[in-house]
């Protein structure tokens, strides 16, 4: 499932705000390799959650009738996330969640995490979702 920033006027505004916030917030690199105009939802299982600098990293397994595909998903740094409600315990191996990611433009299996949704509907944002402020409290 793919959604775009231009789906609705209100959505476009929110998305533009998120993008404006996101680009410089990745302190040590730009977002040039990611498709920041689109998010893709991956429904799968956490294999590893690496709470590391300069970025967190999720090894994520997505099953399909043809087999299991491994994705590498970059996230904001532990220093940012740790100040915004996340910790090294937020994701654990075996967790079944939906990752909303900005996919790699080159088609390889990876991207940048925008948010995580748990089966009970609980959402945590990885990218800042309001310029100048913290993401919505989970």
């Amino acid at each position: 499932m793919t959604r775009t920033c231009l789906r609705a006027a209100a959505g476009a505004l929110a998305c533009a705000a998120a993008l404006a916030a996101a680009a410089p917030a990745l302190a040590h690199h730009s977002t040039a390799m990611f498709d920041m105009d689109h998010e893709v939802q991956l429904n799968g299982t956490v294999k590893e959650f690496q709470w590391t600098q300069p970025h967190t990293w999720i090894v994520f397994l997505v099953s399909s009738p043809t087999g299991v595909t491994e994705y590498g998903v970059e996230g904001m740094s532990p220093s940012y996330l740790g100040r915004n409600g996340w910790s090294k315990h937020t994701l654990n191996p075996g967790d079944k969640v939906v990752l909303s990611i900005h996919p790699l433009k080159d088609g390889r299996k990876g991207g940048f995490d925008s948010s995580v949704t748990w089966p009970d509907g609980h959402v945590m944002y990885n990218l800042p979702h309001a310029p100048g402020g913290p993401p919505p409290k989970p």
Partner: protein, 270 residues
């Protein structure tokens, strides 16, 4: 005797030693005097910036910000042409990623506007700024010493400073040739940066950064940025090489390494 005066006396005696033939190594500074209890006590009269940590006001990075949008630098024709070429190349996917993606620190001045916090540490004759991004440290000598005579270029340059009332004024020269003063704008060996740190409220600080470089700028370029204090935060470790999947090649094209792309690991030697 103040620390500045003590230092002057020691400098004079060091000068005698050098004149007598004991030539110092190029990197040797004058011998540091031992601070007295009064020197330590004097630190209590400085503004309390060592409490908590300070992060650039994100609204100044991502919106208009408390100090408004900074004016762009007024560039000399060769550097204006370089910036145009830099921007044009971005349409081809070049110069979209910089060396910070390869874990090189951005250097002064851009290290001061990274989106992570910094902290101040005072000791007699020195202000140390510890910056979370890339675990960078700036040592600003406030003991009255001049700049090094022939400083080696460095990412954070060679900094001296002094207090004017409650403002800290920092003077920096000798930036590494790779350091850009703004995206797509490099500098010459004449670059000279003056930062004025000024507290504007209980938990707000402004840093006005003025860059002079006659080869690059037609007039001094000043950017003022606001910072907010977070009293309940501490600086976190930031070792960029720990788990970096990002890269920039020599043309500034962006790379992204998936685990499947990792080069084969050679067996550890025993």
């Amino acid at each position: 005797m103040t620390l500045r005066l003590k230092r002057a006396v020691l400098l004079a005696s060091a000068g005698v030693a050098i004149a007598a033939g004991a030539a110092g190594a190029a990197l040797a500074a004058a011998p540091a005097p031992t601070p007295s209890p009064a020197d330590w006590a004097a630190l209590a009269r400085l503004p309390d910036w060592t409490v908590g940590v300070w992060q650039i006001d994100w609204s100044s990075l991502f919106g208009r910000g408390a100090t408004g949008r900074p004016d762009p630098p007024a560039l000399t024709p060769p550097y204006a042409a370089k910036l145009e070429a830099y921007k044009a190349s971005q349409k081809q996917g070049e110069n979209v990623q910089n060396a910070n993606a390869n874990c090189l620190p951005p250097g002064v001045p851009q290290i001061m506007s990274m989106p992570y916090p910094l902290e101040f540490i005072y000791s007699p004759g020195r202000v140390t700024i510890a910056i979370e991004t890339d675990s960078q440290v700036r040592r600003i000598y406030t003991d009255g010493r001049p700049h090094q005579e022939d400083p080696d270029p460095a990412f954070n340059g060679d900094s001296i400073g002094h207090w004017e009332g409650n403002d800290l004024v920092v003077d920096t020269i000798a930036l590494d040739p790779s350091v850009d003063i703004a995206p797509g704008v490099n500098h010459s060996d004449k670059v000279h940066i003056i930062e004025r740190f000024h507290q504007t409220g209980p938990d707000t600080l402004q840093i006005a950064t003025t860059i002079e470089d006659p080869a690059v700028l037609t007039k001094p370029w000043t950017v003022t940025r606001p910072y907010l204090r977070h009293r309940d935060w501490t600086i976190q470790e930031y070792v960029c090489e720990q788990n970096n999947h990002d890269s920039a090649d020599e043309k500034g094209r962006a790379g992204f390494r998936l685990d499947e792309d990792a080069p084969p690991q050679s067996a550890p030697a025993h």
